[in-house]
């Protein structure tokens, strides 16, 4: 039980600290934005510094600019064209050794919306249950953990999205004039478990590249949408702009001047609906993807409908690099997603995909009751652990009033 009365003073102190930090950030941000204006030009020297920073520190995550300036801004021209939007999101029940039986569950929700069509969008929700020993235990006999399940969920979300994308293009008779955008919540750049081996990473990269090739074959724009991004790749590159090549050392790049800022703040001056230039993260994973022809690039977009930096809603959008070779298609995708953010400054599609995917605590309880009944029919009493039972009982205890 959380005794709020014991936290009142700390909450107040915390509020003051946040305000102080915000003030300090403001001065630093002004300096960074001035730097961006002053050192915006992308030349060979900057590229050499970026290459050196990568070589000096493998963990350095800068931004490799695709354009001629770090400070590019772009507003699509021409009226938006109706597009088809597809979004998928996933939810899960993690394996739990205290539950009635070992299992895990994935649920992928998806929505397909044709922007100019009458009628409701197509919505789907597809659960998948995993209970075989080969699903549940790794080679050392340990129960699979949340990191593994998250990886499986990401894969299923992306496969679902690719499948719907291909089906939609096929339903159009292969007509590629209509833009189709496939949205996922979060980065598009592949994520792998920290302890993954080189072989596992290589397999995952190949698998991911196969899915991206499906999108490319269907001429569909896969897009990762990161709301309130914490990334600072462009700032890392900006920190290199004012130092000599010899000064690009491991210590120097690790002690970056703008460590306390994010790219979101740096680009808070983007106008409503405007996007930044295109960049590629210098991560090793992106290097592996580049070798498959599917390097991931990103830009920042102001998803707000209101003018002014105070109302800016800067998000990070990630797409495969092959989209950059079709600027008109990139513009159409940009416009389609921005239009989808009109109501709440967040894609309606992603909000709905999440709603379709989410497995609530009540859903889980009902599902476990269903499993319990099935076990009983087969002569196995469903018993949760004593610890789980105690947690269940104490969680529902009435609140004590002091």
């Amino acid at each position: 039980m959380l005794e709020l009365s014991k936290l009142t003073r700390q909450a107040d102190t915390m509020g003051a600290a946040v305000a102080r930090r915000r003030l300090d950030q403001h001065d630093l941000l002004q300096r960074a934005q001035a730097d961006l204006g002053q050192h915006a030009r992308v030349d060979d020297l900057l590229r050499q510094r970026i290459a050196r920073a990568c070589a000096e520190d493998a963990s350095w995550r800068g931004a490799d600019p695709l354009g001629d300036s770090l400070d590019e801004r772009h507003l699509p021209e021409g009226p938006p064209q109706p597009a088809t939007l597809i979004a998928a999101d996933g939810s899960q029940i993690y394996p739990d050794r205290h539950a009635v039986a070992p299992y895990y569950l994935l649920n992928v929700g998806s929505i397909l919306l044709r922007q100019d069509a009458a009628g409701a969008p197509v919505v789907r929700s597809q659960p998948a249950l995993f209970y075989e020993e080969s699903d549940l235990y790794d080679e050392t006999g340990r129960l699979r953990d949340s990191e593994y399940v998250n990886g499986q969920r990401h894969r299923l979300e992306f496969e679902t999205l690719a499948q719907h994308a291909e089906e939609e293009r096929a339903a159009l008779g292969g007509d590629v004039s209509r833009p189709i955008v496939a949205l996922v919540d979060g980065p598009l750049l592949l994520w792998t478990a920290q302890r993954a081996t080189d072989r596992e990473i290589s397999m995952e990269v190949r698998r991911f590249a196969r899915q991206l090739a499906r999108f490319r074959g269907a001429r569909v724009v896969p897009m990762g949408y990161v709301d309130r991004p914490a990334s600072a790749n462009v700032l890392r590159t900006l920190e290199l702009a004012d130092i000599s090549l010899e000064d690009v050392t491991r210590d120097k790049v690790r002690a970056g001047l703008y460590r306390r800022l994010t790219d979101r703040l740096l680009f808070s001056g983007l106008e409503a609906g405007q996007r930044s230039g295109l960049f590629a993260s210098t991560s090793q994973m992106n290097g592996l993807l580049r070798d498959t022809g599917h390097r991931i690039i990103f830009f920042y977009l102001n998803a707000s409908q209101r003018a002014g930096a105070d109302h800016a809603a800067i998000v990070r959008v990630e797409v495969p690099e092959w989209i950059a070779s079709e600027p008109a298609l990139l513009d159409l995708a940009h416009q389609a997603v921005y239009a989808d953010c009109r109501l709440t400054e967040y894609p309606y599609m992603l909000a709905r995909a999440h709603e379709l995917a989410v497995v609530s605590t009540a859903d889980r309880a009902e599902f476990e009751m269903l499993v319990g009944q099935a076990m009983l029919r087969h002569g196995v009493p469903p018993v949760i652990s004593t610890k789980a039972e105690m947690k269940r009982l104490t969680a529902t205890r009435p609140r004590r009033h002091p």
Binding site: I111, A118, G119, A120, P121, V123, R342, L343, A351, R352
Partner: protein, 211 residues
């Protein structure tokens, strides 16, 4: 089981005296509004028992997501249809139990021994079933005595529907008989009786003009 009629929804919760039905939305099926205030519905129990009830309230709930969309100026037809057709926010119809019939037994206007079960199917009664149920006026007493329901308007709507279910030539006679029964049951509350009969008269006048 043969043709049981138009499905209204499934039971969400129930007491002996009333029950609530989760519906997929507001529909017009074969010129009938589903669910409809004053409409006679039936719950089909698994043991062959039937429970009859009158729809006395229809609720459309909102949620935080819808509220935010509306406040932001929701106008796009595709989003509106998504909210209407795909969101899992049920329309809830509240039903006042007015009678029942156990398997192989006569129709009864008493409250049933058990309420309908969770997720039991609820169907709109067809004209023949409405006529059969309203052959006697015993159900009026249950409606008049019901608490927390708009009883007077419910009686008006239900009598009007019962009259409409009959051949044209029988409607007036039916309503006159029902009016007499109401007068008998409400002899000590003439003000309320006058209100109900007035509403009923207005309703019949309106329907006559429509024709």
């Amino acid at each position: 089981m043969g043709d049981v009629g138009i499905m209204v929804g499934r039971v969400l919760r129930a007491t002996t005296a009333n029950f609530s039905v989760g519906c997929r939305g507001l529909f017009t099926i074969a010129d009938r509004l589903i669910p409809e205030f004053g409409g006679l519905v039936k719950a089909l129990g698994r043991d062959g028992a039937v429970i009859y009830g009158l729809t006395y309230n229809v609720t459309i709930d909102d949620d935080a997501f819808v509220r935010q969309l509306v406040a932001a100026g929701l106008e796009d037809a595709t989003y509106i249809e998504d909210q209407r057709q795909n969101r899992q926010v049920p329309v809830v119809a509240d039903i006042l139990t007015v009678g029942g019939q156990d398997a192989g037994q006569e129709l009864s206007y008493r409250l049933p021994a058990q309420p309908p079960g969770p997720l039991d199917e609820i169907y709109a009664c067809n004209a023949a079933e409405i006529v059969r149920f309203t052959l006697r006026n015993d159900w009026l007493r249950t409606v008049l005595a019901a608490k927390d329901t708009p009883s007077d308007q419910l009686i008006t709507a239900s009598l009007s529907a019962a009259a409409a279910a009959r051949p044209l030539g029988q409607r007036e006679a039916y309503l006159v008989a029902a009016g007499r029964e109401l007068a008998r049951q409400m002899a000590l509350d003439l003000g309320r009786l006058d209100g109900i009969l007035g509403q009923l008269y207005d309703d019949i006048e309106e329907k006559t003009r429509e024709r």
